[in-house]
Chain length 366, copies 2
Amino acid sequence: MKKIFDVLLTHNEFKAEAFIKELEGKKPLFVCTIATTETAKIQGISAAGKHPEFTDYTPPADAELLLLGRCKCINGVPVTPDGIPTPALITMSALRLADIPVLVASGGLKVKPQIPFLELGGSPGEDIRTGRAVENVEEVIQRATLAGEHLAKTADYLVIGESIPGGTTTALGVLSAMGVNAKGKVSSSMPENPHELKNETVKAGLAASGLSFGSLAENPVKAISCLGDPMMPAFAGLVIGAAAQVPVLMAGGTQMTAVLAVVNALNPDVLCNVAIGTTRWVVSDSSSDICGIVAHIADVPVLAADIDFAQSRFSGLQAYEKGIVKEGVGAGGAAIAAMAKVGGAVTKDILLKEIERSYALLVGTK
Amino acid sequence: MKKIFDVLLTHNEFKAEAFIKELEGKKPLFVCTIATTETAKIQGISAAGKHPEFTDYTPPADAELLLLGRCKCINGVPVTPDGIPTPALITMSALRLADIPVLVASGGLKVKPQIPFLELGGSPGEDIRTGRAVENVEEVIQRATLAGEHLAKTADYLVIGESIPGGTTTALGVLSAMGVNAKGKVSSSMPENPHELKNETVKAGLAASGLSFGSLAENPVKAISCLGDPMMPAFAGLVIGAAAQVPVLMAGGTQMTAVLAVVNALNPDVLCNVAIGTTRWVVSDSSSDICGIVAHIADVPVLAADIDFAQSRFSGLQAYEKGIVKEGVGAGGAAIAAMAKVGGAVTKDILLKEIERSYALLVGTK
């Protein structure tokens, strides 16, 4: 697979190459979109928190880590039940190495971060099995679009990431309602991807809202309202507002495909300015298929940061090579942006050294 | 008085000239800091609302106007009791002419705007006669500083404005607590400046908090907590965070002197990167003395947009020439930034035409 910097041109190689070359030496703004959903508390759905109830704290803690270099709403940093630390460590390290500014945007949160954040008028999400997952979707999309329009004037391009536990299940929900078959293709923060549990959860949500596969192909707002999460309207609006003016790197794993489907249904014209940026762990994951889902939605490129923790001196980072965590908090996109901004000054090796430094400081010595 | 573009070098001419020349052709970000205080509801204190109770709606409505070109939380636009419209019309027109991006930051609000805004963790302010005017001052300063640090990386310089009815009275409060004699020198949105009422209000606040003139010269956080308003910690933090990296134009009238005193006490080093930008109506006001107050605090320049509504075809704009409103929502600073960004493409005459267009659309035909 072709590489530019330490970035893999994973899907739609020609466009991917043009996209990454356009970013070279340019100044990005990183926006981290955070939200919570009760869906994350279904036992076995998400590893983005030590216990299911802790998932309410993961997004605000991730956001605090990006801005402060430490968390305030929790001790330490967010971890999986096995103690593997948040990918925000990668994001933070990449952004710091390349001196990239960060803005946090809330789509709807149970717990507010103790840092400045952009309020977009959303509320925390409900369990999608109720069929009433997100309130106020249209209004949040409008506000986020307005924010995206203004933020696009402050940077050469935007990198937009997310932190929302349970997000691949809600992604499957929205994709299903919109008629994109992603069964068995969404990723997971766990090494054993609980596809059956996700399918059952989405099936229950479709039934509760009186929907069937594809019945909302033309209605992304309702698809989010019934089966999505509050990160989505915030993220989609930011993309729509910004990509009309500047390139936008959608930084995340398979969750990005649901946002892509929403943007494609609302404003397909902006997609000529959009790419998905993720990690090698996502694109090489045999239990999911990000490129396969993207190919069913729109002709956008996928890039992947070639990050490698195999040689790390910390077992908590080596675990990423076993398929734990994989992506989140825009880790892959932030790494890509850092590499593109300063070229050879940030390679995968330099990035690993910085991540290890952060790890030693914030997590421990193992 | 020397002029560059249509900007008057009002105070500290040498530095003022260097400052405006540094901004020429550069790309600013405009940040509008909004907050409310119960102090504005003292009868006769503020004209920034049709009735005192309406002052809760003025800041969010001003912010909506800047971002949307219309208000959502009220019908029409904010007006004085005599129906004279908000200076946000000037700000909006200037920013649009020069395509300057806007971010709204909340210091603490009774009524939230229906647009994206930066949440800084503050609460609405109390009447300063209680001596307990603002909560959580230190935390808001810290969060705003962090926001300022990141925003400084997204623009060549920052223009920071404010909308808070009652703000000149709280400014007098903080200045008095900090030992800057501003009695009879703060400005007013009314043609008859109610100095006595402001002095009495501040005197009551000093008494209620067991303070005397100058007793908090070294403690700006407590000065705001006792006698200030929630715009101040947000504004001061933004200045401190941003001016360490880029020039900052503090856009406002005599309220800016209180923020200046706070910044000067907390971090005087950044003031080499700071100027105050206001309107001709403020600097030529015989019932106040912005330059006199500034001279007692720090050696920063004052610039004034030479806006002139004498020849306007609308009586609601001509009223500005009689000393009504004068400044607010960063009107003067936004006009200065627009002129500096695009040079001769925005003159006082072109700006007036655009303001009249907005006026006709939003206010009426008189």
